[in-house]
């Protein structure tokens, strides 16, 4: 069964060599603790004056993540503000053994951005009767161009070449669309278990290509 492979691969740390091309350069490991991580840990002491440098280092992560999902500078700025205040408030919960500060902030930002996409979507669905089909959503071509432009600058870009085209499509749809894999399946006209597998295998390959290893 395809479904079993994740349990097996995740438990033994993944098939590191599987599907990774020789030509792919592995980026520097993201697990080494750096000055930003230390600064974030230090600001958990409750002194607001220590947060300035943390903001400067991590707000671009929050903003870049939000912009990737939302594609609207105003929405992204609002989400960034919420996320950075949350970073301050939850600093004591940041565990540098589990994540880099960058990954932690990207995770918080992505969750908030996706929440906003879904709330917008729900609102749009409610208003759909009034709107009809005329104006909802940006032109698909513009979205695709924007996604390609963003991917160009992402650390993950070269590793995306190690994915099959269907894996890449599913992962990119889920990442940039802020969609559930069910919604991705509907959009792609593919079966649910298939899309689940594509996302799972796609992220697994990216993990191996990026050389991510924790624990």
């Amino acid at each position: 069964m395809v479904e079993e492979s994740l349990v097996d691969t995740a438990r033994r740390g993944g098939p590191r060599a599987h599907g990774v091309r020789q030509t792919v350069r592995v980026p520097p490991p993201t697990t080494a603790r750096g000055p930003v991580d230390d600064a974030l840990v230090a600001c958990a002491g409750g002194e607001p004056g220590t947060f300035g440098p943390v903001y400067d280092a991590l707000a671009p992560v929050a903003y870049g993540t939000s912009l990737g999902v939302l594609r609207d500078p105003d929405h992204a700025a609002e989400v960034t503000q919420e996320v950075m205040v949350e970073v301050w408030q939850k600093a004591a919960r940041f565990d540098p053994a589990r994540a880099s500060a960058r990954t932690w902030v990207a995770t918080l930002a992505r969750r908030r951005a996706v929440d906003r996409v879904r709330a917008e979507q729900a609102r749009r669905d409610r208003d759909q009767r009034d709107l009809d089909t005329s104006v909802a959503g940006a032109a698909p071509d513009a979205v695709a161009e924007d996604v390609e432009r963003r991917l160009e600058g992402a650390a993950v870009r070269r590793c995306l070449d190690s994915l099959t085209s269907t894996q890449r499509e599913a992962v990119v749809e889920a990442y940039y669309g802020g969609r559930t894999y069910r919604e991705v399946a509907e959009r792609l006209g593919a079966a649910l278990p298939t899309v689940k597998s594509r996302i799972r295998d796609g992220l697994g390959r990216l993990r191996d290509c990026l050389g991510v290893a924790r624990g």
Binding site: E3, E4, L6, V7, A10, T30, T31, A44, G45, P48, F51, Y55, A59, P60, V61, Y63, G64, T65, L67, G68, P73, A77, Q81, M84, V85, W88, Q89, A92, R98, A99, S100, R102, T103, A106, T107, A109, R110, R111, V114, G153, A155, V156, C159, A174, Y175, R179, T180, Y181, R182, V184, K196, I199, R200, G202, L203, R207, L210, V212, R214, G215
Partner: protein, 240 residues
């Protein structure tokens, strides 16, 4: 069997979970796995690193910095206490297991009576009172007694241990040169002064703490109150 299937499904969903691409029910399934299995948490941490690798950092609008730092200056941090804020001394109580449950109920009770009409600077004090009342309501031995007030209105007392929360509504004014005064009635019929009531539009909420007694009573007293009651009570609230 079913557990094995659920566990496998949850493992299967980890990558989608890292992408926030699961629905609410699936999210809970995955979080149950994460709570139980450190290996799953480690796998999730790796997937999150992968997802973060999609982020292209971009400078946010410059004005955002000031806004965030202004909010940070006043926003409390989880797990820390603002400098100078002392921990209120813990009040010994018999059983507090239900405090959390009762707190939700007590907010609904307390808000209509006083909180809505008080100024912002009193909120901290009120919060303390709400906490106290929450503790009282959580006390399984707490009693609630209600009675009509002679001359008009209705009065209630919530008693838990040596604490009494007295409330009244639709009270007429006590009359020029007079105040309503509350008394705690002891088991021997003795009375202890428990404060002059400040009614607002006929409504009173008055908390008496650490005074042992079997009930409370209200009398009309000369302005500022008396050391002993000088008139007959207009209401007595005691367990029969």
């Amino acid at each position: 069997m079913a557990d094995d299937d659920t566990t496998r499904d949850a493992w299967d969903l980890l990558p989608a979970y890292a992408l926030d691409a699961v629905d609410e029910l699936e999210r809970r399934v995955v979080e149950r796995l994460l709570a139980a299995d450190p290996e799953a948490r480690r796998a999730l941490d790796e997937y999150r690193d992968v997802v973060a690798a999609f982020t292209v950092e971009e400078a946010p609008p410059a004005h955002l910095r000031e806004q965030v730092l202004a909010r940070v200056a006043v926003a409390p941090q989880a797990g820390t206490r603002p400098a100078g804020a002392a921990t209120p001394p813990a009040r010994p109580r018999r059983r507090w297991g239900l405090v959390a449950v009762a707190a939700a109920a007590v907010v609904a009770v307390a808000v209509p009576t006083t909180i809505a009409v008080r100024a912002t600077q009193e909120q901290a004090r009120l919060q303390e009172r709400v906490d106290t009342v929450a503790q009282m309501m959580a006390d399984p031995s707490a009693t609630l007694v209600r009675a009509d007030v002679t001359g008009g209105g209705e009065a209630t007392v919530l008693t838990a241990g040596d604490d009494h929360l007295f409330t009244a509504s639709d009270l007429p004014g006590p009359g020029d040169g007079h105040d309503y005064q509350l008394w705690v009635v002891g088991a021997e019929g003795d009375v202890t002064p428990a404060g002059v009531l400040q009614a607002q539009d006929g409504t009173v909420e008055h908390l008496v703490q650490d005074v042992p007694g079997v009930g409370v009573a209200v009398t009309v007293e000369p302005d500022g109150g008396s050391e002993q009651p000088t008139t007959d009570p207009i209401v007595v609230l005691a367990e029969s």
